[in-house]
């Protein structure tokens, strides 16, 4: 019977190469600068609708990316820009999607919450809290059915853990031994409601024990800890067909969405997490280990700024979808007789 682990502790740095550390740095800096720009463009009303930024949570996706392999599938909720970019969608296509332009990864039909890439195995961007949990299990179901050794990684926020969909899905994922990792990005607040105000079991990973699902609590401000947790869970999913539930403790520096001033939490709390910033942490390790100089890191950052600027230029210059697109991509049937009046 699988045992629930109380805590995953970060393994020592040995074994992690310059290449991986620089990849984390590059990935996280890309997410950070992209999201900062997205926030800025939202302020200028270039980006509309709901927009949820990933700033502060970068180590979760960065740590995952070095622990999974090509062919693995990812699905998440609506805080999805970073997942999309990490999985291989270009910053241009993500920014254009935020702008609602036809060159966006979802042709301007999805927006902030609905990034998709079939080519890169990114199953979206979903807007109903917890709905992506059974879908993630279904993606894993299909991989097992087809006999591949790919796995599915299914992200959710701490709010989603309260949804019945999670409990139904955990039951079937264990019963059917699906190759899936369920990942709760616990950023402490479901919108404005603190986790402790939603449950008498604030250690979310413990919920998995009701299903005999292996689980771990992970420091989400530490790429290495995240990587190790994902590596172990991926191995279990791929080779033993056993799901894992990872509660990754992270923090969003910004509000829930662009309209949220986040008055439900203290400045001290935000500062506490900023002191543990995952990008600063990995930059320090890189410098300590002489993987790169300060100048080389600055060069990486400058290059990323150029990529982000280019993504904005691309989005600005791209056209909106033609109004005729409204009746496209609803059905695969080309001549579906829509009611026009």
């Amino acid at each position: 019977m699988p045992q629930t682990k109380e805590k995953t502790t970060a393994k020592i740095m040995d074994g992690f190469t310059k290449e991986i550390c620089l990849e984390w740095y590059q990935q996280m800096m890309m997410m950070r600068r992209f999201e900062e720009k997205a926030g800025q463009m939202y302020g200028q009303q270039k980006i509309r609708g709901f927009c949820h930024l990933y700033i502060g949570q970068e180590a979760v996706v960065a740590g995952m990316m070095t622990a999974i392999k090509k062919g693995d599938k990812v699905i998440t909720a609506y805080r999805d820009h970073a997942h999309a970019i990490a999985m291989g969608i270009t910053p241009r296509e993500v920014m254009a999607e935020l702008y609602g332009k036809s060159t966006g990864c979802s042709k301007g039909k999805g927006g902030s919450m609905h990034m998709f890439s079939k080519e890169h195995g990114f199953f979206g961007g979903h807007g109903i809290v917890g709905a992506q949990i059974p879908m993630g299990a279904g993606i894993a179901f299909a991989e097992k059915y087809k006999g591949t050794d790919n796995i599915a990684i299914c992200f959710m926020g701490d709010g989603a853990v309260r949804q019945g969909a999670l409990h139904e899905t955990f039951t079937m994922a264990m019963l059917w031994e699906l190759p899936v990792i369920f990942v709760c990005e616990n950023n402490k607040y479901g919108m404005g409601t603190a986790v402790e105000r939603t449950t008498n079991v604030p250690y979310l990973y413990k919920i998995a024990s009701a299903y005999d699902m292996p689980a771990a609590q992970v420091d989400g401000m530490d790429c290495l800890a995240v990587h190790n947790a994902f590596a172990e869970a991926a191995d279990r999913a791929r080779n033993e067909k056993i799901p894992t539930f990872l509660e990754i403790n992270t923090y969003r520096y910004k509000g829930h969405s662009m309209s949220d001033p986040a008055k439900y939490r203290s400045k001290e709390e935000v500062e506490e997490f900023r002191h543990r910033d995952p990008i600063d942490a990995i930059a320090n390790i890189i410098k300590q280990k002489d993987f790169a100089t300060e100048e080389e890191l600055t060069k990486i950052e400058d290059d990323i700024k150029l990529v982000v600027e280019d993504s904005v230029k691309f989005a600005e210059e791209s056209p909106y979808p033609d109004a005729s697109e409204i009746y496209k991509d609803i059905y695969t049937q080309a001549d579906y007789p829509y009611l026009m009046d």
Partner: protein, 328 residues
């Protein structure tokens, strides 16, 4: 094709089994579909033929297994999700409406969701309020879905095969009280096109439109009316979305009168939309206001008297027709 009389449930079973033999990516999942051989025996024998990989019992977790079906469909499989009744599928409606119906559009056409949600809809005797609701109009409201509601074994087989082969998400609605109905289902392969109504009986004085189990009421009313010299044309919608409005409009151009018979509650029902479309496209052809016979505007009660008072009857239909014809 030679005549062969089989039950509605066996027509459905043949449709599913024939398609599963053709395509390894099709599987059926739901409560009691495998070892119990189906709550209504639609999947009788399928576990033996196809094995536990493709005929899958689920826990009672409609939202969960509907969502697993959607995820599997997005990732290359072709699931058939059986709901024991669509009354239970309310627990899963988020996945049907927000995921299955919308993911093709939200992803800019990248992902498809070739899935069939099927099971019985509507009332089935004295089952009380929570097991007796029709849902065709709920799902037919949703762009991205196709909704099918057959009335006989022949149509059930041909339409279910079409549904399974379709690359769009389908809601396929049956009836507990029709599974034992017998009808001609010829040997051999046939497909019925989705979106086409059928004129079951030609007539000249009034058009009666219905679907699913109330087709029996419509046809019986037409027979009774014929004895009184009233010639009713009876249309079986078969598909609810897309609905074959041209078939209805063409019939009204001949009969100039319309009566719609359906089991659902009246507000925002299929008859509501048909009435709008007909006044829009055949206003000048109508010689009388459109009449409808629906379930009463209340939850269905348990007592037999309350069931009878709730459901549309042959006499209700005859009365509606006579009203539309201004005869007493």
């Amino acid at each position: 094709m030679s005549e062969r009389i089989i039950a509605f449930r066996d027509a459905l079973k043949e449709a599913i089994s024939e398609e599963m033999r053709l395509d390894e990516n099709i599987f059926i999942m739901g409560e009691e579909v495998a070892e119990y051989n189906g709550a209504y025996k639609v999947s009788q024998g399928m576990l033996d033929e196809f094995g536990a990989k493709r005929v899958i019992d689920t826990p009672i977790a409609e939202l969960g297994f509907a969502g697993i079906g959607v995820g599997a469909a997005m990732n290359g499989l072709r699931p058939i999700i059986e709901f024991m009744t669509f009354n239970f599928a309310l627990l899963a409606i988020d996945q049907v409406v927000n995921s299955a119906a919308k993911v093709h559009q939200m992803s800019g056409g990248q992902f498809t969701c070739p899935i069939v949600f099927r099971g019985p809809s509507g009332s089935a005797g004295q089952l009380g309020a929570q097991h007796s609701q029709m849902f065709e109009n709920w799902y037919a409201n949703v762009p991205g879905l196709k909704v099918i509601s057959p009335s006989n074994p022949y149509d059930a087989k041909g339409l279910l095969k079409a549904a399974i082969r379709d690359n769009d998400p389908i809601v396929f609605m049956e009836s507990e009280v029709m599974y034992g109905d017998k009808g001609n289902v010829p040997e051999g392969e046939y497909i019925i096109e989705i979106g086409k109504a059928e004129i079951k009986k030609e007539g000249t004085d009034v058009t009666i439109v219905s679907f699913n189990k109330l087709m029996k009421v419509a046809l019986q009313a037409a027979d009774e009316l014929a004895k009184e010299g009233i010639s009713a044309e009876v249309i079986d919608l078969r598909t609810i979305r897309p609905l074959d409005f041209p078939c209805i409009v063409n019939s009204i151009k001949k009969t100039n009168r319309l009566v719609i018979v359906e089991e659902s509650w009246p507000f925002g029902s299929i008859s509501s939309e048909i009435t709008y479309q007909v006044q829009k496209h055949a206003f000048d052809y109508l010689d009388a206001p459109i009449k409808r016979v629906t379930g009463k505007d209340v939850p269905m009660g348990y007592a037999p008297t309350l069931v009878d008072a709730y459901l549309p009857t042959v006499q209700d239909t005859i009365n509606a027709v006579k009203s539309a014809m201004y005869v007493a």
